[in-house]
């Protein structure tokens, strides 16, 4: 695919957002060995372009749902970094008060509703949320809804659900696709096809076929693209978000990418031999950051000094975020009993 470059400032912004996620994930990986972040942690190193390229088109009013590998989605949607880190440490100041850990994130102020780790678990929730948004808009359009104060809303808020290739083995995925098309929901399905479920390759789990064509068969507008090219993700997501916002129904993107670290944890695990020899190395050459950096320099949209300045700025932010998170307090025993019921 020939990709038109987003405006220079925009590509730089996308690069910065990806770099922020990469450096935050690397910092988590480094500190994970200190045995203080005691929860299952699934890093998204290598897959940053998808979260960033999609979320670039979302407003705070748009909502996002995610999965166990959700740090990138949370950060790209505007989730608070110190509260993410505090959550990993199990502090009361974490985004879930320490009740969720890495696999349960939320930042309602940013429109990041939730990530959870049961594969497919949040997919119907995103559809339900989009359904409610659609009903509120329709009510408002008819002028009798209390929800929107009876005025005509500007445009429909959209909801985005991030999930992996493994979801296509779950019934709830197909149930949700069916309903989303039936109701023409303002919903974006973003399939991050990284080809592995834990250590099991796609070929052992699904027949050879294009995942997005299953979505097409369900009646969605579905396309696939290179999930490691942020400019390409940006372009595809722009069309998809615009379509969903304008009432053209649910949109589906299958984006090909690859997970660098082990399924769960801070390390690489290529020595275990479940990937083909050279597979990871090849994907690393297609690193979303590397490719964008080359583009920025090649098109003279940026320079080494500016990129170095980004690095130091992020290093400082992340250092401060950890310092702030580490000032957290332990959740009290009494607080553990709270919020079973609303």
């Amino acid at each position: 695919m020939t990709v038109m470059s987003p405006a220079s400032a925009n590509l730089k912004h996308l690069y910065y957002q990806m770099l922020r996620i990469r450096r935050a994930e690397e910092a988590i990986a480094r500190r994970y060995a200190e045995q203080q972040m005691r929860c299952p942690t699934h890093l998204c190193i290598g897959e940053e372009a998808i979260a960033v390229g999609v979320c670039a088109h979302l407003t705070v009013q748009d909502k996002a749902f995610s999965n166990h590998r959700g740090h990138g989605h949370y950060l790209a949607k505007g989730g608070d970094l110190p509260r993410l880190l505090a959550e990993l440490y199990g502090f009361a100041e974490g985004c879930c008060g320490g009740r969720g850990g890495s696999m349960h994130l939320t930042d309602l102020d940013a429109g990041f509703i939730a990530s959870t780790p049961i594969v497919g678990g949040t997919v119907p929730l995103a559809a339900g949320y989009a359904w409610a948004e659609q009903m509120k808009k329709s009510d408002a359009a008819q002028g009798y809804a209390s929800v929107a104060g009876g005025r005509m809303p500007e445009a429909t808020n959209v909801v985005v659900i991030f999930f992996g290739d493994g979801c296509f083995e779950e019934g709830v995925m197909h149930e949700t696709l069916n309903f989303a098309v039936l109701k023409q929901l303002p919903l974006l399905f973003i399939c991050e096809n990284n080809q592995y479920s834990v250590m099991t390759p796609l070929a052992e789990r699904q027949p050879k076929r294009d995942i997005h064509k299953i979505a097409t068969a369900h009646g969605l507008t579905a396309v696939s693209g290179d999930g490691n090219r942020v400019d390409e993700v940006f372009q595809l997501a722009q069309t998809a978000v615009t379509n969903a916002r304008n009432g053209l129904g649910p949109q589906f993107l299958e984006l090909h990418t690859h997970r660098w670290p082990e399924h769960c944890g801070p390390n690489e695990d290529d020595d275990l031999g479940y990937r083909s020899p050279g597979e990871l190395a090849e994907w690393k050459l297609r690193c979303p950051l590397l490719q964008t950096r080359q583009m920025l320099l090649g098109l003279q949209l940026s320079n080494d000094a500016e990129l170095a300045q980004m690095e130091s700025q992020l290093a400082e932010e992340i250092e401060q975020a950890f310092a702030s998170a580490l000032e957290g307090t332990h959740p009290t025993i009494d607080s553990m009993r709270q919020h079973l019921y609303a």
């Binding site: 879930c96 008060g97 320490g98 009740r99 969720g100 349960h104 939320t106 309602l108 509703i113 939730a114 959870t116 049961i118 678990g121 949040t122 997919v123 119907p124 929730l125 995103a126 559809a127 339900g128 949320y129 989009a130 359904w131 409610a132 948004e133 009903m135 509120k136 329709s138 009510d139 809804a145 209390s146 929800v147 019934g171 709830v172 197909h174 149930e175 949700t176 069916n178 309903f179 039936l182 709270q338 919020h339 079973l340 019921y341 609303a342």
Partner: protein
């Protein structure tokens, strides 16, 4: 002014749904068959016509997905009521109910809430068989974060439904199909139910019968006949199953000399009786003056054949026999059971009720 009307349990549910749809603009009523010509045994009749197809609607055959979709809508401020005509189908949605709905408020530290009602119907008879008539109340009552209620009277059906819809938590609302035709008083002026506490259906001094759902009706039948033999049974309806009102049982036992019969419409191993007894023993064990009795179904699925199923379901006769055994009056068992005997087939709740159902 009291506004009391007589209506059936099924009518009370329809009335509550109607009143809630009028009261809560964000309420949705959704389920397989909700607007179809049979309208969930009449309980959703006329509601789509009145409130429109956006709020009262049918759904794809996707119990788990639709449960998740209703949770998502609830997170966005709606109040969905999702209906399953048989509880057996709700098993397909256990992932969404247990992993998401029940935990959401807790695991996100109270920042989000899931105002969701799941209406499920349990029952028996007319060959409903192994996969159309299970009683899974005890299983669902073991999930923290899920409220489980089993109202028995028309009044409770109305007020529990309204309260469940107003509640900002997921509520599993279990209806026994054989209650649907039973009439009762509904006082609409009564305040909002707190979805807690047992209901004292009959006062008595000789023995306590703590019963669940349709078994409370059977217990009342037994108590009526026993009264003509000078035996005064107290009947408690354990209508809130996830928050069992053990205090009321203990208070009743203090009055009845520590004699307890429990009756649940579920197989013995899946009966709420075990949870009730365990909690009772742990908190008020000294109140039990005799080994209690538990009336429940056998520990196997119900066979479809009505010849076989007739022997599957215990009822008023078994409750009365247990009461008489505990009161050391075995000589009355034959006579009491003769009084309780009915020529009605055991797969039919009353003569007006004809299959299929």
């Amino acid at each position: 002014m009291r506004d009391v009307s007589m209506m059936t349990y099924g009518e009370a549910i329809r009335e509550a749904l109607d009143d809630a749809l009028a009261k809560f603009p964000e309420m949705l009523l959704i389920g397989e068959g909700v607007p179809d010509p049979k309208t969930i045994f009449g309980t959703t009749q006329g509601l789509q016509e009145k409130y429109g197809p956006q709020r009262v609607l049918d759904m794809p055959l996707a119990e788990n997905g639709m449960t998740g979709i209703c949770i998502g809508a609830a997170l966005a401020g709606m109040r969905p009521v999702l209906v399953h005509q048989r509880i057996d189908f709700a098993l397909l949605s256990v992932d969404q109910l247990v992993n998401n709905a029940a935990k959401w408020h807790y695991m996100f530290d109270g920042q989000q809430q899931v105002p969701l009602v799941i209406r499920v119907i349990i029952g028996r008879g007319w060959g409903q068989g192994p996969q159309h008539s299970q009683s899974l109340q005890a299983m669902f009552a073991q999930v923290p974060g899920l409220k489980v209620v089993m109202p028995t009277t028309a009044g409770d059906a109305y007020h529990f439904m309204l309260a469940a819809i107003a509640d900002n938590n997921p509520v599993l609302f279990i209806e026994h199909r054989w209650l649907h035709h039973i009439q009762g008083e509904v006082d609409k002026q009564q305040g909002l139910s707190t979805l807690s506490g047992a209901a004292l259906l009959r006062q008595g001094t000789d023995i306590t019968v703590a019963a669940f759902s349709h078994m409370s009706i059977e217990a009342l039948k037994a108590a009526t006949v026993l009264a003509s033999y000078g035996i005064d049974a107290e009947v408690l309806d354990m209508r809130c199953v996830s928050t069992l009102d053990i205090e009321s049982v203990a208070a009743s036992l203090a009055k009845t000399g520590g004699k307890l019969v429990i009756a649940d419409c579920a197989p013995e191993m899946a009966s709420m009786g075990h949870q009730l007894l365990s909690k009772l023993v742990l908190t008020h064990g000294h109140r039990l003056q005799q080994v209690p009795r538990l009336i429940a179904y056998p520990n196997h699925p119900v066979p479809t054949s009505h010849f076989a199923a007739n022997h599957y379901y215990p009822g008023a006769e078994q409750i009365a026999s247990a009461v008489l055994a505990m009161l050391d009056k075995p000589e009355l068992i034959e006579s009491v059971n003769r009084d309780l005997q009915s020529d009605l087939p055991k797969d039919q709740p009353d003569r007006s009720f004809v299959g299929p159902f």
